[in-house]
């Protein structure tokens, strides 16, 4: 198996305005194999964008290095950059220009010109299905259309490797579906290597051959989905949403002691959604158990006795969410 991207001990610290430093990435090692979709999964602020910025040469690492197809991104940036396409988290397009003008400009920057350029632009506009709007200004596009042009701009040089940083943020379900299908198409039909970052467990689950789970600037687990879920064992996960009553530590400890087969009980109190929407996420109790369905009646009984309202119960097989929970004690939130 050929390695496309190899990162060793990547670190990045930023100086804050008040003079303190923040370590956005704390020693990341990565191996991305040719032809695979590798996902970096982690909540906002985990350091995904910073990592991708370092391995694409946008940001100089404070420490460490990465090679792209064997070329060091810090020492031979030109050779390394020629192998990659880049789809940033932001819509990195000129809003005053049309979709076609944007693609033509970035295509020219790759040295394309004349017939070759216009053919490649045609192909990509067709690929992201925007032929009818190609001459409209980007700032008149919907979020989903902008995302598609943003993606096309990363494919102009037909690179063997593409980075996509949260390419589905802020768009409608159809556009998201379309982009996810496109990503699989790139791997399956064009044999491209994809580095895909997301904070959504479902996306990582659907797309990835291998996943790196990132939190607080570190990769806390890495492997195929099967390897990762094995890390949490054969445990089931029970997701119980509860009422406003506070579930104290005493109660969770008692449950762990009294009910057979429980390995871990986590409580996430309600949290406000957004800045000032007034709404909040429901309180959530996560219970890991050897045989979840068997333990369920006893769990409900205990909660009932403690006066806790139960709004819903869900039994989940092991998944990436469970891995993240098991490793960090927190939920990956949408």
């Amino acid at each position: 198996m050929k390695t496309m991207v190899e990162a060793r001990n990547l670190r990045k610290s930023y100086k804050r305005a008040d003079g303190s430093t923040i370590e956005a990435v704390k020693g990341v090692d990565l191996d991305i194999h040719q032809g695979e979709i590798f996902s970096l999964l982690g909540p906002n602020g985990a350091g995904k964008t910073t990592t991708i910025s370092m391995i694409s040469g946008l940001v100089a690492p404070t420490e460490g290095d990465a090679t792209i197809g064997g070329h060091s991104i810090t020492k031979q940036p030109m050779a390394a950059k020629r192998l990659m396409g880049f789809v940033p988290q932001e819509i990195a397009l000129y809003p005053e220009l049309s979709a076609r003008q944007n693609l033509a400009f970035f295509g020219r920057m790759y040295g394309l010109g004349g017939k070759k350029l216009s053919r490649r632009v045609d192909e990509l506009i067709e690929f992201v299905d925007l032929a009818d709007r190609q001459n409209d200004r980007i700032d008149t596009f919907s979020g989903g259309m902008k995302r598609r042009v943003n993606l096309a701009a990363g494919l102009l040089n037909s690179p063997p490797l593409i980075y996509m940083d949260e390419p589905t943020v802020g768009i409608d379900p159809q556009s998201r579906r379309r982009i996810l299908d496109t990503v699989k198409l790139l791997r399956d039909e064009q044999d491209m290597t994809v580095l895909y970052t997301t904070h959504l467990m479902e996306e990582a689950q659907e797309l990835s051959d291998r996943v790196g789970i990132m939190d607080h600037g570190e990769i806390i687990a890495m492997g195929t989905q099967a390897e990762l879920t094995q890390q949490v064992g054969e445990e089931d996960r029970l997701e119980i949403t509860t009422g406003a009553q506070n579930v104290g530590e005493a109660l969770t400890e008692r449950m762990q002691q009294d009910i057979a087969g429980l390995t871990r009980v986590l409580y996430n109190p309600p949290e406000p959604i957004g800045e000032n929407s007034g709404e909040s996420t429901p309180a959530r109790l996560t219970v890991f158990a050897k045989r979840g369905r068997t333990a369920l009646p006893q769990i409900i009984q205990t909660l009932d006795a403690a006066g806790i309202d139960i709004q819903s119960v869900e039994v989940r097989e092991p998944d990436l969410e469970a891995v993240f929970l098991a490793l960090t004690g927190r939920a990956l939130r949408d």
Binding site: S53, P88, E90, L93, M109, Y110
Partner: protein, 423 residues
């Protein structure tokens, strides 16, 4: 190199595609150049200078008419009001009668260069060889007589010497008649003889060119301040001002490019940082030169002078634009918001421009302000433009100014390139 040109071309076409930018690049600077140019001088600068002079003839005699004729002939720049008023009311009489009081008021306020009053009885006094007073009102310094007074003096000198000839001849004639005991001439013959003599004397003194010919352009009193054409000041001045507005505005654009991630996308391309930076510098330098050309084109349309050394003029323009581009890149890294950038652009442009003499020539401000003014790059550019445009200077004359502007550019670029934010 090709990528650099592609980026410059792309940045410029985005800039020019925005209607708001065209207002700042084209409409306002052109209008301001016109207004300032017209305010400082005459339209076009082709025609002769005209001096507005009120003339009130209370005598209305042949001799006063003669004096007026002489005055016109003495200096063709004089426009005698109300006699020589034109259809455009150059005299600015606004169809009101001109009496002595109003005329004195006009001379006092500087609306006219001078007022000449020919008193009633002027002709009689002249004939009788009596003293006669011609009233002259003007704000100009009597120690440095202006062209009007000089013209009037020349005319009066000739008129009075002719009149003196006549007086002396009359006395001579009378004495001769008495001494030689000749029969007295009858009144009519005597008058006719003396008048012929007077006319002949006047003719002689008029045909004889005066020793000094007063030209308006030679006059230190000319309140146009030595500017032959207002556009010689307004085009370089407004050009410098708007180069600052346009190029410094790049601070906000650089910030936006970083915010909208197009700068980062460029950096993910196989381009060196030097190429990206060079292209961005090139784009704003080109924009500044375009701005200068637009404003100078307006000046050219209205007869502005460009001096005799176009390469030197281009070099001064380029050095100034480069200096302002460097200032833009030195400030850009510290800018946190587009509002902040806009405020800073206004502050810098509107303080550096007047300080450096973009609106009015620095020559007219106190000396300490001229010294302070040279903190502004505009002052160095304007000095060089004056050398070339007003005084027809050559390349070596403006080398010091170019050197100062380039040195400032080098320092500012060093700061800007070091702290340029790619991330």
């Amino acid at each position: 190199m090709r990528s650099i040109l592609t980026i410059i071309y792309n940045d410029l076409s985005i800039y020019l595609s925005q209607r708001g930018n065209l207002v700042g690049l084209l409409v306002i600077p052109v209008l301001l150049t016109l207004v300032i140019g017209w305010s400082l001088g005459r339209i076009g600068g082709g025609g002769p200078t005209r001096l507005r002079v009120d003339l009130i003839d209370l005598d209305r005699s042949d001799l006063s008419a003669h004096l007026i004729e002489e005055l016109r002939a003495a200096n063709d720049a004089l426009v005698l009001c109300p006699l020589d008023n034109d259809a455009d009311d150059y005299c600015r009489l606004e169809d009101e009668p001109l009496d002595v009081d109003r005329a004195i008021q006009r001379a006092h306020s500087g609306r006219t260069r001078a007022l000449v009053v020919i008193p009633a009885g002027y002709a009689d006094a002249l004939v009788d060889f009596r003293t006669v007073t011609i009233d002259f009102y003007s704000r100009s310094d009597p120690m440095q007589p202006g062209p009007v007074l000089q013209g009037l003096n020349a005319v009066l000198q000739r008129t009075s010497s002719a009149s003196m000839t006549k007086g002396v001849a009359a006395a001579l004639l009378d004495n001769l008649t008495t001494a030689a005991q000749l029969p007295a001439l009858d009144e009519e013959t005597r008058d006719s003889f003396l008048n012929t003599l007077y006319d002949r004397a006047l003719q002689l003194s008029t045909e004889q060119p005066p020793a000094v010919l007063f030209r308006v352009a030679d006059s230190a009193d000319d309140s146009e301040g030595g500017i032959d054409n207002g556009f010689n000041q307004s085009a370089p001045g407004m050009g410098s001002l708007y180069v600052m507005f346009t190029v410094l505005g790049g601070m906000a654009v650089l910030l936006r490019e970083r915010r909208q991630w197009t700068l980062q996308r460029l950096m993910a391309l196989p381009l060196s940082r030097a190429q990206i930076l060079g292209a961005k510098i090139g784009a704003y330098f080109t924009l500044g030169m375009i701005q200068f050309f637009i404003v100078f084109a307006v000046g050219a349309a209205f007869g502005m002078d460009f001096g005799s050394n176009p390469p030197a003029l281009l070099a001064v323009m380029a050095a100034f634009v480069l200096c302002i581009t460097a200032l833009t890149f030195a400030l850009a890294p510290w800018i946190k918001s587009e509002g902040q950038a806009r405020g800073l652009v206004l502050l810098l442009s509107l303080s550096l421009a007047p300080l450096g003499g973009a609106w009015w020539p620095l020559e007219i401000v106190p000396e300490f302000m001229q010294t302070i003014g040279h903190l502004s790059p505009v002052a160095w550019a304007m000095d060089a433009f004056q050398d070339l445009i007003w005084y027809n200077g050559a390349f070596p004359d403006v080398l010091p100014e170019i050197a100062v502007l380039l040195a400032a550019a080098a320092v500012l670029f060093a700061i800007g390139i070091r702290s340029f934010k790619y991330e």
